[in-house]
Amino acid sequence: MELRKNYFADLRKDDLHEIGQPRPRSDSPGHVTGKTAFFADRNFPGMLHLKMVRSPHHHARIRSIDTSEAEKHPGVVKILTAKDVPHNVYTILILIQIGPEDETVLADGKVRWKGEAVVAVLAETERAAQEAAAKVKVDYEVLPAVFDMEEALKPDAPLVNEYHGQNYYLYDSGECRKVRFGDVEAGFAGADHILEQSYQSSPIEHAPTETTGCVVAPEGNDRFTCYTNTQAMFFTLDNTSIILQMPGSKLHFVGGTVGGGFGGKVDVIVEPIAILGAKLTGRPVCFIYSREEEMQISSPRAAEKVVIKDGVMKDGRIVARKVTGYTDAGAYSRHSPYGAQKGAGHYPGPYTIPNVWIDTYCVYTNRTPSSAMRGFGVTIGDFALEVQMDKLARLIGMDPLEFRFINAYRDGDMKAHRQPTEGAALIECMQEASRAANWPVAEKYLAMSSYVKGA
């Protein structure tokens, strides 16, 4: 790695003692010698193991659940169904007033994706819990499912989630989050070229080294200590408090070093049911995702579809950009309404464009709920935007890097969401990339500045 101090030297004082020093990480020796403690290193006498009975169907009505055979299985201590969960219908962003509550801790009457939790089995060993889970009999009436976002948005599509009433998230702005800036149709009308293209991604797994999980110990004082690898301690505690209808003062969450998050550990999934199990049995409980659960059950990065329509001039100026983004939330909201909205705040990318129209939709389908992941709401949008930029440059016969200089945002430029640009540095990154990659651009672009007036 190279620090290039010649850029922005006039905006920076290099007078610090501890900051800027490449100090060795204090936790490294523990990591490399295996001494760092992770949540799963906690072990308590009499600890029970929790395993889930999961839906084999993408969409089905539950006619009945029969746990009698499972209960007789040796080692089984407790079996939980929807009726055992005090506040079974929840949504995690209710803490910041983004409702409605739309997801069940344990399925109640219906399943909406293949893998959804239906029954929780607590047993003396992991094996007994797994074997007993296989003996739970659930009678399903399979319902039509929808997997494709465009299909889901059609009026006659199967309804994925009754708590929403339609297959998209209803924002205060309507069926999508909107950004309107300038007059996009007038921009297209005056453009030399129009290019409309569609981009698509598939769900992506966080693939942390350490799978999602927790270990819960009931304390003697009516409190529960939950050792967890959540990325957000109070977020998880407060949601657990709502789901279990238990005062927050009864809950003590202990984290520590996490073996990789990438956004996959901000859903509140394992903790509430494990604490409920500990409460109802009076015994410590551990609930740790298998690798298969981590890959197919825990939320992935949402699949997205992004449609971009641009109006561009022969001289390289983009004069109008219309973006329609679709985020595949899967069966439940989790963090997806936020991600789709974050996308609306990100488009049209780091470029100054006078006419912009943005619609971002959060769409429900019968698949594993998606949620936060590194670059949430932006990563796939950047893929679409930057491939589109390459296509536009080639369309007008311009070098792709020079084309970006012409449109790059600079301090003071008004963004589509009506915030003036501050602290821009795109131009300088491109100047340095031109040098480092030996990708020549015209001298006038090397003389540009994100912040010096007139440069």
């Binding site: 800027g20 990480r25 957000a232 977020f235 501050e422 540095a425």
Partner: protein, 334 residues
Amino acid sequence: MAIRRGRGVAAINYPTGMNLGGDPTQALVHSTPTGNFMVTLSSVDLGQGMKQIMAQICAETIGVPTDRVVVDTADTDTGPHCMGTFASRGTHRAGNAVIQAAREARQVMLEVAAEELEVNASDLETDGQGNILVKGAPQKSISIFDVALSAHFKRGRSISGRGMFLIPRSYPEKETGAMKPSTCYAHACTVAEVEVDDETGEVTVLTVKNVFEIGRALNPKMVEQQLVGGSWMGISHALYETTEPYYPNRDHGGTDFNQYLMPGPGDLAETEIIVLERPSADGPYGAKGPGEMCANPQIPAVANAVFDAVGVRIDTLPITPERVLRALKAQAAN
């Protein structure tokens, strides 16, 4: 049939934090009787090294070496509220809270030292080595060790501070979408060079040159580990990863690392990282959040390089050999 070479560029920006949800984090700082400092947070270290960075921020602010600071994280009984470690917010939000708490603690420390030295607190400065000196008369000094002892056992002062950093929630305006989704943005430009085998459709990324602008590299070694790791993840997203290879079809999803494709060590490109620093107005010592954005620009840079190499556009991720071959076939048919 041939191996064809191409290169592509992408430039991006990335917001720090989650302004659209409201974004608070708190920190507490106190000294022990012998002048070590404890930072207490409920923030979570995901392995990226948050504890180390919070220690350096606290040390810089108080004016002591980093090894005099201990960070206690992720305990809801002791640590004050933090929204969580996500949205590239950890260093920025918690760092600002630690600075505020450390400033308050430093002020008490200087007041106690002033009493011991019989001078005004405003005439004192720290030497960064564990001592407090009178400005202009450095021979008149006291160690922070002795100041802490005095505060605890003689003066009855608590050398401690509270820190709170809140970005109030921004509500998008319904019709126009006017909003403030972030307070500062990190930037990047990546140039990727690839080889495409037009017989097998396989893409090999040869080199990735990344320029990242991140406000301030608080710890350059840790910045490097995060940016290199992010760059690898970007390549992985571009070419390999998905839980649903035939999305929207739900079948054929991987359930372990044998089936879920990711690059192995031999698949990783020669990676160059260059860092620029434009300090952000509201960041801790100017830092921005580069945690997420460092994995973004490689994806379009690789896609554009594939086009440069073989003249086909793959607009669906990941860019698998199957997709490349199908596109080449369609191109030949036209």
